[in-house]
Every structure is written in C-alpha cells, then in structure tokens.
Symmetry: C2
Subunit: 355 residues, 2 copies
C-alpha cells in the first residue's frame, strides 16, 4: 500500500515522540511491504516562530495532498502571552475545523502492567476498555464569541446534522465493540443537550444491537472513576468530551499511553497523543512515546484499514510493558526508566522478533 502522511511535530516533546512513532511506522512499512511517504510541516508555536501563523497555508496545502496527518503536540510558555490569533492551540483548533475532523476517538484501555501507576485501586481500573467519542468541530468551541471589559460570552450551538453524524459514528463503533453506548449531556439544563438526546433517541432504532443509555455529565464525571468498567462507547459534545476524556485518562496510570484519532466520514484523519507538549521535559529524551506510537496504530486502523498492522503495534507495546520496560512517567525509581529511544527500540525489537 502507498500512502502519503503529513507529519506535524509541533512543540515541546512533540518532535521527540513523533520521531519515535515514525521509526515504528517505518518498521511496519518494511515488514508488511507498504510505502509510507512522509512530508514534514510546521504547526503551533514552531509555525508561529517561523511563519507568524499557527497553521500556515503551506501546512494546509500539504495536509490536503496527503492521506493522513500525524501530529505531536502544540503549545508552551514561550507563546503564553501571545495575542489570541498567535496562540499555538489555534493551529490545532483550525486544522480540526479546516479538515472537518468532527469525530475525536479517545480509547482508554488499561494495561495490566501499568496499574501500579494508576491513582485508582487495581480492582476498579483493571479490565477498563472504553472509547470516548467527542464531537470536535462544533459546540461552544466554535460558536460566536464576544468579550468587553464588562462582559463576555461564548455561544454553545449545534445543528441537527452535526449531532446526527457524531451519533452515527458512535453507534457504528459501539456495534463492532461491546454493543453499549452511553450518551452524555446536561439535558436538565441545556437546550443543545435536549436536541442531542432527541437525536440519539431517533438514531438508535437503526442500531438494534446497541444498548443505549443517556446520562448527565455530572453523573458520568463520577461514574467514570467509581465504575469505569461499566462503559464501552461514550459519546458527547466538544466541551464535555474535552473534560471527560482527560478525566478518563487517569485510569490507565499515565497520560503518556493514550492515543487519539480525529476523523471524518471519508476516513481521512489526524492522529495525535492525548498528552500535551510537556515543555518542562522537552529536549531531555525521556518522554513516553507510547501514546504517539499507539496513535500511529489508530492511523493504520482507521485511515488505511490495515487491521493486522495496527494490532501488531498494539501487541508490541503491550508486550514491552509486560516485560517490565517503562519510561520515567511510569516508574517511581528513575534509574529503572528507559529513555524515549531505548523504549522505542524495545517496541521495534518486539515487532522484529515476531517476523
């Protein structure tokens, strides 16, 4: 298979974890005889420094010519006091909107070997395997905004079409997973939530195999911690999804192992770790590359339909954890920690021994 991938390393640890993930991608290419052509471009703070633009035209053009995007992370204190239109995060918001990447998939799967690092008791966190589906291009993120010295506002707005497509996406996912969907809203207060709930009710008839429940966001914020094993697919709006997916990430023990996909209906997608640019450890070579490596697996699965290749990466990552190899975020005793590159070597070795 021949595919073009635009690589956007971004800021902080972004370039380090992306470099690691690209190494794994190339090994997969070699082993399975694929040709992945990579083209690098700028986003976020790096793009502001170079082009005074968090998402330069040149980057958009390259992404348009490619089959998928691999992103590191954006942001850092260096740009914190920049004017609104020159903040690194804007590059991220704009690329999501420009490419209509409305479905943000954030799987949270507990690796048994990492549970010591979780703040949750083992019996609560083990066996968790859920997927948060967050609407990514609508809601309060993109509604009309205003601010004066005496008042500010943000409009939370959803059209029927925006809700329908994300609900369809989540129901389809639930159908091929464990057959359960929890739709999260605040229907006792918000009108957007009432429309959301109504559309879920309309849509669910088309998916008779999926058991659908509605739950309020405050209640789910609790149950995600008290009983995360209850969930399969969780679908919610942009703002609630931002909060709940970060919250759910604590279950696994490290943000450093959580991948994400932001996709649209034709399978074009952007893949990035859930974690941020972690400027405090940038350049030290100690960042955990697992989240970005697993994001590459999601790319293979969702954008290229390469199921075996995706599964092989996931198997290798899991097996390296089981063998007791960890980066610094996952061990108390730092002298036992592997560097980003050393840990990536283990993953590559694990793939190689399988051939």
């Amino acid at each position: 298979m021949e595919k073009k991938i635009t690589v956007l390393p971004g800021d902080g640890i972004g370039p380090e974890v992306v470099a690691a993930a690209v190494r794994v991608l190339q090994v997969i290419a070699k082993r399975y005889n694929h040709d992945f052509q990579l083209a690098y471009a700028a986003i976020g703070g790096a793009a502001i420094d170079q082009f005074q633009d968090p998402l330069p035209e040149e980057t958009i053009k390259m992404c348009k010519e490619s089959d998928a995007i691999l992103l590191g992370a954006v942001g850092g204190p260096k740009w914190d006091n920049n004017p609104a239109d020159l903040r690194p995060e804007l590059g991220l918001l704009q690329i999501r909107k420009t490419f209509d990447l409305f479905a943000n998939l954030r799987p949270v799967k507990a690796f048994p070997s990492l549970l010591d690092a979780s703040p949750l008791k083992r019996e609560v966190a083990e066996n968790v395997d859920l997927m948060i589906v967050r609407e990514l291009t609508g809601g309060i993120y993109f509604g009309e905004k205003n601010r004066t010295e005496s008042e500010a506002s943000d409009l939370n707005v959803y059209t029927r079409e925006e809700i329908e497509r994300i609900i369809d996406n989540a129901l389809s996912l639930a159908k091929v997973r464990k057959g359960k969907l929890c739709s999260v809203d605040k229907a006792n207060v918000l009108e957007t939530s009432r429309l959301w709930r109504q559309i879920v009710e309309e849509k669910k008839a088309q998916y008779p195999d999926v058991a659908v429940e509605h739950n309020l966001v405050d209640s789910v914020a609790m149950k995600l911690i008290t009983n995360p094993g209850h969930y399969d697919v969780v679908v919610t709006d942009n703002m609630f999804g931002d909060i709940l997916s970060d919250e759910a990430s604590v279950i696994t023990g490290s943000l450093g192992v959580l991948p994400s996909a932001s996709i649209r209906s034709d399978n074009f997608g952007l893949y990035e770790p859930v974690h941020g640019s972690a400027p405090e450890i940038a350049g030290e070579g100690i960042a955990n590359p697992a989240a970005t490596i697993l994001s590459v697996a999601m790319m293979l699965r969702y954008s290229f339909d390469l199921q075996d290749e995706a599964a092989e990466i996931e198997r290798a990552v899991s097996s390296v954890f089981d063998d007791g190899y960890f980066t610094a975020d996952l061990v108390k005793d730092n002298s036992r920690a592997l560097s980003t590159d050393e840990w990536t070597d283990k993953v590559i070795a694990e793939i190689d021994t399988n051939f």
Copy 2:
C-alpha cells in the same frame, strides 16, 4: 440565638435525610440554648404534584421570611417526561436565582474511616481537604436558550460583577483556609474564561497571602484524581463547577457524605446534600443522612456564625465513622449497615456524651 429556617424536604430520600438532620439540629439547639423555628414548604416534584409549580409562590414567601433554607433533594422518574416548566430541577434552579445564591461551596474532606469505600488508592485520597467554590447563578445555566428541530443553542455569558463577587468569595475563603486558590477555566478556547482569568489577576493583589494559580478545566479534571491533595480552594464557573464537584466527590468514598452551601453576600443561604433524590432507595429508611447533617453544620457556620456548634456536629459525624458505624452505601456487607435513623441516633448520642 433565635433563627427561622425554611425546610424543603423535596422528593425521593429528601424527606428522610432532612428529618434526620432536623433531629440533629434540635439537639444542638437544646445543648447550646438556641431557638430554631422550622417551617416546612414544598419544592420540586412534591410541589408539582400539589401546586403544579416546582417552586410555588408560597414557598418563596416563606423562604424570604427566614434566615436560612434546608433542602433535601428534588427529582425522580415520576416527573421525567413532564414539560420543561414542570420539571422538579427547575425548582432548584429558580430558588438559586430568586435568592441570588451565587456562591456554591462544596467541601470535599476525606474521612479516614471511609477510605476503603473510595475508588482511589488510600495514599492518594487520604488527607484530602478541598473546597470547590462554584458560581451558581450565571453562565450557561441562565444564558439565552433556543431550540428548533434543526438547531439548538445555549449562551454562556458572564458579567464582570458576577465574576468579581465569586472570585472575592473564593479568595476570602482561601485566606482563612490553607492560603491556596486554583482558578479553573478554559482560557485557551472561551472568551468568558479570558475575562474570568483577567479578573482573578486583578483581584489577587488584594489578597497577598493567597497563592493563586490558573489551570485549564481538562487538566484539573485529571489532577483532581491523580493528586487531589494538591488543592485547597478551587473556584470555577457554573458548568465546570457542576462537573468538577461531582467528580471530586468520588474521593471520599460516598456521595452520601458531601454537604453543600449556596450563599450570597449577606450570609443568607440554602443548604443541601450534594447527592440527589435517589428514588431507587426512597422510603426504605436506608439513606445516608451524613451529607444533610453536615449541611446543617455548614448552615450554622456560614449563615449563623455558630462556629462551635458547627464543629461539634462535624466532630460527632467523624467520630461515629471512626467507631465503625456506617449506612448501607458505605459497607459491602449489608447486614452490618445501620438504618438512617439508627445512624442518626449514634450521632446524637455522640453529641450528648460530650455534654
């Protein structure tokens, strides 16, 4: 001291836990020579059934003539399909707005004897003692709303005055607690958050003893679980506060022990447990009354400035837990559980033996 208290038992387990808390209040009155005059009124589903109105005029009138309000809980499946203006929750939203109860205080304090019931590891949850201050009468809860079949919207809007008074409230609280304030927003996306952050920056100069940090809501949703011991006072808007305070409640092991106060600047306030009406166990006499009893303690502290009396209730509750007495929500083996009344008896006995 003479005080008038309006009691709103509400729905589900509301009447049961309120009855228990009133018993404790009366014991305190006797022991400390106070005269608390109680007047009962309807709210929520009970008020809809009786008056076709979740917050009848008569109830508002009684609250206006009193010094504080004690509330049980509202809602239940019976009214789930009611039209929007006849939903029990509306009674709660309206009473908050009518009485301008803009500051919702939700303390989360770990009881050492309850940590077995927490989903968090003991070393993470122990020693937690934080206070969430949620803005309660503004934001997306009360902004303009619209819904058609094809689109819906909710306006998140804050004025400078609304933000200033809640920030002042939170800074004053931090000053007499551990001197730390975490202000939570989504300033990388929302204009309301940018105004919020700006006002926190302006205000903090007036409280030189308080260490102030800003943090994004998604990040706090994680850190509340990975490192809850980090927090002292956490201040945020209505919607984020709803989510984060329910999330933080899991730390203690049961929603059944979490009180709340909703107050305004003149110390008039409404006191209620954080938990809901729990219709599935209503009428069984097994509900945990601790949250409502501790809400009475908050009433004594914040509305009546009766510090010793408040502390005595808190001491008694804590000591009953330490003696190994629990309601059903806190034990695995139900045969060991005390009923609502039995557990309240223990609290009263504990207060009595102290005199």
